[in-house]
């Protein structure tokens, strides 16, 4: 692990992008800054320009209109960077997955490091997801597969 990777684990600055979300996930992201969850104690802070950001928190299923702006924001963010999809909409398109107005999820537009499903995900879930993106905690969810044996 290089020195840069080690720094990256310590405290990341996050830029939040609403790519057509309903605002539910955005409010829960803001909720992580508030006293009960206080994400700033981990050194994670919300910045106001992608140029300062280490990670992009993207909400929303990526509407047609926002796609170009989202790509420009991604290019404006300096490397190394993480893209974290917050909510069910960027994870799989949400209930808009087959809508003509959206692009069906963030994976169709940007390379995503971690998906945080939820509608909206609890602030604790967002904290957990960001911690997982930083390599601090292990993934808990796994696929369930069953094959009937007669």
């Amino acid at each position: 692990m290089s020195a840069l990777d080690w720094c990256f684990k310590k405290s990341i600055w996050v830029y939040h992008v609403n790519a057509g979300a309903c605002n539910g996930c955005d409010i829960e992201i803001l909720d992580t800054l508030t006293p009960y969850y206080d994400v700033e104690r981990f050194g994670i802070r919300l910045v106001h320009t992608p140029r300062h950001a280490d990670a992009l928190l993207v909400t929303g299923p990526v509407t047609r209109q926002v796609r170009d702006r989202l790509l420009r924001l991604y290019d404006a963010t300096p490397d190394p960077k993480l893209v974290i999809a917050v909510g069910s909409c960027p994870t799989g398109g949400g209930i808009w997955h087959n809508s003509y107005a959206t692009l069906g999820g963030l994976a169709n537009v940007l390379p995503v490091a971690v998906y945080i499903p939820g509608c909206p995900p609890r602030p604790e879930a967002i904290l957990y997801g960001v911690a997982q993106a930083l390599g601090l905690v292990q993934q808990q969810v796994s696929a369930q597969a069953y094959a009937e044996v007669t």
Binding site: N18, G20, A21, C22, N23, G24, D26, I27, E28, L30, D31, T34, P35, Y36, G60, R64, Q65, A101, C119, P120, R122
Partner: protein, 302 residues
Amino acid sequence: MPRRARYIRTILLELERIHSHLLWIGLAHHFIGFDTLFMQAWRIREPVMWLTEYLTGNRKTYGMNRIGGVARDLPDDAHERIPPVLEKIADESARAVDAILEDASIRARLEGVGTLPTSAAKAYCVAGPTARGSGVDIDARRDHPFAAYPELDVEVCVEHGCDIWSRTLVRVRELFDSIKLVKQALKQIPSGPVMADFDEIAPFRVGVSSVEAPRGEVHHYAMTGPGNRPYRWRVRAPSYNNLQSIPALLKGQSIADAPISVASLDPCFSCTERIQTVDTTTGEVRIYRQEDLLSEFRKRHA
């Protein structure tokens, strides 16, 4: 729709109004640089989120409204769980509001700023606290009563200052009024079923509703479809027309006052939209602006 379902919907809407107004109070003060109140307001608000998570299964997307009633009943101990949370919020909000009422810096930043005269408010058709802060006496809970509101005492909070401070006062008064309404609803809620008894929902039937959301009147249009799924759905959120008043709001202001002026409308930018057409043969994409839509419409209906 059974009466109990109406009351449950009302209780949840008022709980939503409580947390939304506390959210706004926090956010507005964040925009004027007073992060202390941002943190405190959201701290005060958090118990409501836990309460709704307990009542409905999710902090924010309650998923309760169904055609004919609500999806599930309140938990058995709702009557024991809700009042203490409301008391705490009323108490702490009162103390926080009392603390900022005489704060000269906040008053200086909010009074006389972002003025929307009553005539402009009516002309732009703004709704909700934005309109009520400019003296326009409208409230869908009183004007088009829905759910259990005909049986509750709704106080329509109108202020005549027309500036951001008036809108703040409207929201603060509505916050305390919502707490009273939830208490009243809990006292009056009847027992009974929470879902009407009916068979299949016929397809292609239309329903339109006007509800007083925390930001104003929100209209939903829904058309049922085959297979018990919606066929068409359209929402006109209040932020869509509230935001049209921004030019009038910002006139003559300094740039430094722009963020708080826009934030004073409590805008939900996700509730805005624009019409984009894609020509499937040429691939050309076109955005329609207001002037384009108006001229198209007038051409066809001249």
